[in-house]
Amino acid sequence: MRIAHSAAIGISSIRRHKLRSVLTALGIIMGIGSILAMVSLGSSFESYIVGSYSNTLMPNEFVVSIGQKSGSGTSGSYYSVEVPVFTTKDIHHIQNESGITSVLPFGAFPGNNPNSVKFGNVSIFGSGATATEPSLNKFFRIANGSTFTSSSQCVVGSSVASAIDSISNKTSPAYAIGKVISVNLSGSKIVDFTISGVLAASPLGINGDVFVDQSYYNQTGSINGTNYVAYTDLAVLTGTADQVSSGISETLAYLNSSSQAKEILKDYANLNLGFVTFSQTEIIQFIDQEVQSFAGFIIALGSVALLVGMVGIANIMLVSVSERVREVGMLRAVGARKLDIMEMFLVEVLILGLIGSLIGVLVGIALGFVFLKLGLFGGASVPLVIDWAWVPLAILLGMAISVIAGLYPAYKASRISPTEAIRSE
């Protein structure tokens, strides 16, 4: 029962000094708030990105491209570049590997420029043509309309469709269907296409693409002076999602040993190029890693806020102790032990920590929401995902930090001699 009275004294002190208590808890509020906000932003971002990749890339699919290596050694990262290297022979070979059901070639037309694609007289910036087959819809999700069925039709990426919308002052996602765009296919060949479908928005870098029939495609790669029609990227479907990783390793093993693509790449020896693959699993793993290192950084920042908060709590608790010397002396006179006095201040700081952490959780959620509304992720409407596992953890952390900060002031209070306390009147 002693602790109940210690708690009652502590609570009455907090209630008496409401403003000061809030200020005391401010460090904890901000520390917990920022950690929780950042963790929520991280998981929102993660689930948004993962969601949009899985929206585009199927679980049993991978993409093979050419990447330019930046940095040195084996750990450097690759930037995807468009180089025509994958020949028909290569495509057939990959198609016959175990577990692989179909392969779709993509041929990006070279020399895309701001005037590559026009709607009416208006250029759609950042847009360019890519040749492929009508089976495109089996590899990437078409959000509106359907795949092209003739060489006069095309399928466009989501940002091409929204550019057409904004040129026409429309907002309907299906507005672009049936509209005609003119596309500059390599140099001077300008062709009009009727849009038959719009792809779902994708983080793969295909939102600005106009997909047309491969009969227009004529890019080649050369081996010992002979030219072969060669594509820039391949999308590969496997029977099941489990076969993706073996499919990737078989494909890479072939490409790096006996493929024509490897021979063609020799022409680009000075560019430091290599084969790169993307799959849902790989991308999710990569994002997980990114989010984790981002979270680590933010948690380090939040820890600094908490440390500052801790110093603040210790400081204000010391002030509170020195203001309550008389009260402590009186309590000692009526039989409170040193331990009771310590307990009293620790309960007080624990309650402050709990209140601070709870407010911090609310502040964190609110901050996360505000950041997302402010368009932190380039205007994409990312829904807030709160990682609930962090909430009790954050509250515990806030309380633990408060108690640690309160230890020295509480100890100091317990050392107050009852006579000094009473004499201070």
């Binding site: 029962m1 002693r2 109940a4 009275h5 009652a8 004294i9 009455s12 002190s13 209630r15 008496r16 008389r326 009260e327 002396g329 009186m330 309590l331 000692r332 006179a333 009526v334 039989g335 409170a336 032990r337 040193k338 331990l339 009771d340 001699s417 009852p418 006579t419 009473i422 004499r423 009147e425």
Partner: protein, 234 residues
């Protein structure tokens, strides 16, 4: 541990108690060898000018402080050998304190202050505490204000609550330091009447004061001057 076989009426005995304070290398001796026996059921006043050492003596008698040398024997146990928890227990259960500036917790009700003292004393059974608190507050004429916040009470009322609190754990010794120092003469009279009322066969009261009117209530007047007992008169 020393027993005191000679005087069965003795509650507390001071033997050659010396108290020296040192502050930044300066030493100040507040008590210079006090020998004193406090008897059961008696009402003592300690008088003396400011700085004479009366508060120091009172704190030592109340086991709030220990002498630098000499011995304090409380109910046959030497205080200097008691640990903090034992001293706290004795203070809580055996001694009631009344201070000049009341020293209640102002942001709690009169009743909460009573219950808190009983909780730290841990002597009165849990189920009896509320009733006892109410009856003691009634005794000091504060029965109808038990649920008022202390900060809403006048000085005289606060001191009455403080006396009720001092009685909370049914102590054998009540120690009061200038209990009427902040009160007008009417309230001072009420307070002193209360002290007279709560003393009994077994309960000892010690009041430090420099008001001769207050000292009139005592059975034994102890005068202290320059840290020494000047006289003890009955």
């Amino acid at each position: 541990m020393t027993t005191d076989g000679n005087d069965s009426r003795a509650v507390e005995i001071l033997e050659n108690a010396v108290k020296t304070y040192s502050y930044k290398g300066l030493e100040y001796t507040a008590l210079r060898g006090i020998n004193l026996t406090i008897e059961r059921g008696k009402f003592y006043s300690i008088m003396g000018p400011s700085g004479s050492g009366k508060s120091t003596l009172l704190h030592i008698l109340g086991l709030l402080d220990t002498p630098t040398s000499g011995r304090v024997v409380y109910k046959s146990v030497e205080a200097g050998r008691m640990k903090d928890r034992d001293l706290s227990a004795v203070r809580g259960r055996e001694i009631g304190f009344v201070f000049q500036s009341y020293n209640l917790i102002p942001r709690m009700t009169a009743m909460k202050n009573m219950l808190m003292a009983m909780s730290f004393g841990n002597k009165i059974p849990q189920q009896d505490r509320k009733e006892r608190g109410q009856s003691l507050l009634s005794t000091v004429g504060m029965g109808d204000k038990s649920e008022k916040l202390v900060s809403q009470l006048s000085g005289g009322e606060q001191q009455r609550v403080a006396i009720a609190r001092a009685m909370a754990n049914d102590p054998s010794l009540i120690v009061a330091d200038e209990p009427t120092g902040n009160l007008d003469s009417e309230n001072a009279r009420i307070i002193m009447d209360l002290f007279t009322g709560v003393r009994g066969e077994e309960r000892t009261i010690i009041v430090a004061t420099h008001n001769p009117d207050v000292a009139k209530y005592a059975d034994i007047n102890i005068t202290i001057r320059d840290g020494k007992l000047a006289e003890e008169s009955q």
